[in-house]
Symmetry: C2
Subunit: 149 residues, 2 copies
DNA sequence: CTTGACCTTACCATGATGGGAAGCCTTATC
DNA sequence: GATAAGGCTTCCCATCATGGTAAGGTCAAG
């Protein structure tokens, strides 16, 4: 099975398969005489494992640990559980941070009449109550066009 | 005011102030004879605006637009409100994705007895019910040590 | 005048992914 | 057998916002 077929079979892009190999997350795979990577189903299963773990938001470093545990028939499930719960807690922290942002924005937007008048509590909050700069026409070939659409 | 003082006054690191200038988010600032950047309070206010917007998770590109609106005395608050609500919606999408991950992990962990026995529904789920690879001792100086702590 | 703190620019790294170029290989068609 | 299409190889670059570091200039206090 070449890399394209392995990619389709595992749901991991060929690009990422090579990357996983280059970084040592997976072992270098067999090659054909011509130098093509040659995959067996075992490797495809490993790739599926990785894809599923990525879908659950595990960072690659943690996935390396999970792969080790997966391959370790004498593992203790407590270790896996600990890693999973630790990651779940990290996710929940991110959720809390994002929710706080969204709540602030929603609250500010509620107080913004949102019509053609210029005054806007959202900008006031961002500015912390101060007046803006005069329009600074910078050179420096702007990556951000400061466009008002 | 030199860049260090401006950084302390705005809460934006000197590094990031230079970066914002290089990318055109803010205009090039005055320089002393020796080439030191020289900031006024107006610039510090702009930096504070940016910092606050970053805290709310706005990407730099969007902040460029918000800065334009902030400096535009003829802006329509509806435009600001639209941007804010759009961003809030994007945040909520991320929240939903992260929450789904966390929920799945929590559910899997609940079904894992978490003791010194090896069987583990968490790994089973990741593996989709298949058997693991035999321990592949890859060269490729692994960045991820596959360590079992 | 020296020292230490600060400034300048320039480069590298992050994490996981995609894009693309240049060149070799395989397969199908003629 | 020749050719074309498409897949493979490696290598480099970009993302996004941020930090680190190094080499060298500047400033203020002692």
């Amino acid at each position: 099975m070449n890399i394209g077929e392995a990619a389709r079979a595992s749901g991991v892009s060929a690009k990422m398969i090579r990357y996983y190999e280059a970084t040592g997350l997976i072992a270098p795979v067999a090659r054909t005489e011509a130098g093509y990577r040659d995959y067996s189903m075992a490797e495809v299963h490993t790739l599926r494992f990785i894809r599923r773990a990525r879908e659950l938001g595990f960072p690659m470093e943690t996935i390396a640990g999970l792969l080790g545990l997966w391959q370790d028939r004498s593992r203790q499930s407590a270790e896996v559980k600990r890693i999973a719960l630790e990651h779940a807690a990290a996710l929940q922290e991110k959720v809390a941070a994002l929710e706080a942002m969204a709540a602030t924005l929603t609250r500010l937007a509620e107080h913004c009449h949102g019509d053609d008048r210029p005054d806007c509590p959202i900008l006031d909050d961002l500015a912390d109550g101060r007046a803006p700069l005069s329009p600074s026409s910078g050179e420096a070939r702007p990556r951000y066009a400061a466009a008002r659409r």
